[in-house]
């Protein structure tokens, strides 16, 4: 599928407002990901064509930045904090419970494509430790408990 018209318009606009094609690449990757959930090879090629860069240059960035996803992710993204303040308050136990409940490890997606589980640190919710951020808005949830995961997994 070719790049949808609204994305073409937004990326072209970003080139104008972000100091040229190079300055707009990360913005373009983000826009594509926002619309489609991840960045496919085809979209890397589309961005390359729009910005006049090579696909290698685009992928060089896409693979450096950890929140650009080059593989499909689940509809619900759960970014679980593995930082020290969360660990001290039982973060490991909650993480194990989440993994067991979903049957996946960090960096994996459930077979039904619903959930992707990522570990990250720190999510800026140390006052709600153990904490995670979830969903499109990266809503902060916590303090999490191993026996009540519903707030996190719905």
């Amino acid at each position: 599928m070719s790049l949808p018209e609204p994305l073409t318009v937004m990326i072209t606009h970003a080139i104008a407002s972000h100091g040229g094609p190079r300055g707009a690449i990360l913005e373009a990757l983000r826009m594509v990901q926002h619309a489609e959930g991840w960045v496919s090879d085809e979209r890397v090629a589309d961005i390359a064509a729009l910005t006049g860069m090579t696909t290698a240059e685009i992928d060089n960035l896409a693979t450096f930045y950890s929140h650009i996803f080059r593989k499909p992710v689940g509809r619900h993204l759960v970014m679980f904090c593995d930082g020290a303040s969360c660990w001290m308050n039982g973060g490991d136990k909650v993480a194990e419970a989440v993994k067991a409940r979903l049957g996946i490890g960090f960096g994996e997606t459930t077979a039904d494509g619903r959930f992707t589980l990522l570990n990250t640190c720190c999510v800026g919710g140390c006052d709600h430790a153990p904490a995670a951020v979830t969903g499109r808005n990266r809503r902060l949830v916590g303090p999490l408990r191993a026996d009540t995961l519903d707030g996190l997994l719905t």
Binding site: G19, Y65, D82, A84, S85
Partner: protein, 421 residues
């Protein structure tokens, strides 16, 4: 999400549910008045005011804000034309830091007002507010607030403001790596000099300031430098938004005078949790060295904490009770910094994963006593006096280097038996 209510001149206007104010609500509360005052004065007068206020940058290093601004050239004094940039650093990702989230989510107009005044003072024509991707609520609040001030004509003809959402990686918070990221490159730090004020974003004069630094500016302009210095108990001006987390009963953000002690902050959090007894604390986030019970009454500011052998950093305390294994805490930190190394220089790219592996081994009981020598050696290689290119590695090694001394007994015990906690 609700949190403990805040009080104090810097954050007192934040709502308990952290819903941001509309422009009209903010102005009704006296917001954006300082901007009008500032624009009636020449830029140098504002810089002098910030200097007299003794405002130190809140991003980690505590560099005097006014001194940094003075490096920015006035228009017409440098060759070529093009913008000068103020970049507001909202990349907050340091383990234990959760303070800038509050300003971005709940007080976006305060950040914008501070940024517009700062831009006037340092001759910047473009403001970029960089926010980490995980703070999408903050990104949205800032974008909304910018749209409002733009529509109301507060921005003025010659000033542009936009938000840039970072695409991840802790190193983006380092100011020169941040500039690389904005130029569409991998976030690898640049060599200094030239400093960003001489050659920054796209080769133009650039200043990077932390969100909290910028949020302090409207108060200084509205109430004057004497008022600001009077808020503090030490020579460093203002209040500080402390964040206290780890083993305390009610972890929270607390706005308190610069120079407040860890004892007071921990008390306000309901005391140490778990065993109820303090083992140690990090005064400035994950990359700061451990302090102990003997430092509970130290007035916390940049100078005092440095004298005590640590770093005030982000002013966010990580508290350990005597029931917490300090090696476990260090292991979490080391894994984080190893994962976030940008990969540019060898000591950090190769050294941090090695160190993380050894500390994990200490926890699991697979390490040997000889491994402790390797930890001592790598601790000496890091940082500006060592062999790494930027401060990420120096910061990463601070909890390890101080921990090796403070927790010598626990390290030896782990080398012999693994973690018995």
């Amino acid at each position: 999400m609700t949190a403990a209510p805040l009080s104090g001149p810097l954050t007192g206007r934040a709502r308990a549910d952290r819903r941001p104010h509309s422009l009209a609500e903010w102005q009704a509360d006296g917001g954006h008045a300082a901007l009008g005052l500032a624009r009636q004065q020449p830029p140098a007068a504002i810089v002098d005011m910030v200097a007299a206020a003794a405002l130190n940058g809140r991003g980690g290093a505590g560099f005097p804000a006014a001194q940094k601004w003075r490096f920015m050239p006035a228009p017409g004094t440098i060759p070529g034309d093009g913008p000068s940039y103020l970049i507001v650093n909202g990349d907050e990702m340091e383990p234990g830091a959760f303070k800038d989230r509050l300003f971005l989510e709940a007080l976006p107009h305060l950040v914008i007002e501070g940024a517009m005044i700062a831009a006037h003072a340092m001759h910047a024509s473009e403001i970029i507010i960089l926010v980490r991707d995980a703070y999408r609520i903050g990104i949205h609040a800032m974008e909304q607030a910018i749209a409002e001030v733009d529509a109301a004509g507060l921005t003025g003809r010659n000033l542009k403001i936009r938000v840039h959402a970072s695409a991840g990686r802790y190193i983006v918070g380092e100011e020169t790596a941040l500039i690389e990221a904005l130029e569409g490159k991998r976030a690898v730090p640049r060599k200094r000099p030239p400093f960003p004020a001489q050659s920054g974003l796209w080769g133009r004069p650039t200043t990077v300031n932390n969100v909290e630094t910028i949020a302090n500016i409207p108060g200084i302009v509205a109430n004057g430098p004497d008022w600001f210095r009077g808020l503090s108990r030490t020579a460093e001006g203002g209040t500080k938004l402390f964040g206290v987390s780890g083993r305390v009963h009610k972890p929270q953000l607390i706005e308190a005078p610069m120079g407040t002690t860890a004892r007071e902050l921990i008390d306000r959090c309901g005391g140490v949790s778990g065993t109820g007894e303090l083992l140690a604390f990090q005064p400035g986030g994950g990359a700061s060295g451990f302090l102990g019970p003997e430092h509970l009454d130290l007035p916390l500011d940049f100078a005092n904490v440095a004298d005590a052998g640590s770093m005030f950093g982000t002013g966010t305390l990580i508290v350990l009770d005597t029931g917490t294994c300090p090696i476990g805490v260090i292991a979490r930190h080391m894994r984080f910094y190893a994962r976030e190394s940008c990969g540019w220089c060898t000591p950090c790219r190769e050294g941090l994963p090695w160190v993380a592996h050894i500390v994990d081994g200490l926890e699991a009981g697979t390490a040997k006593t000889a491994d402790l020598d390797i930890l001592h050696m790598t601790a000496g290689e890091a940082g500006p006096r060592g062999r790494s290119f930027c401060d990420l590695m120096g910061g990463a090694m601070a909890p390890l280097a101080t921990g090796l001394h403070r927790f010598e007994r626990q390290f030896a015990d782990h080398a012999a038996h693994g973690c018995r906690a």
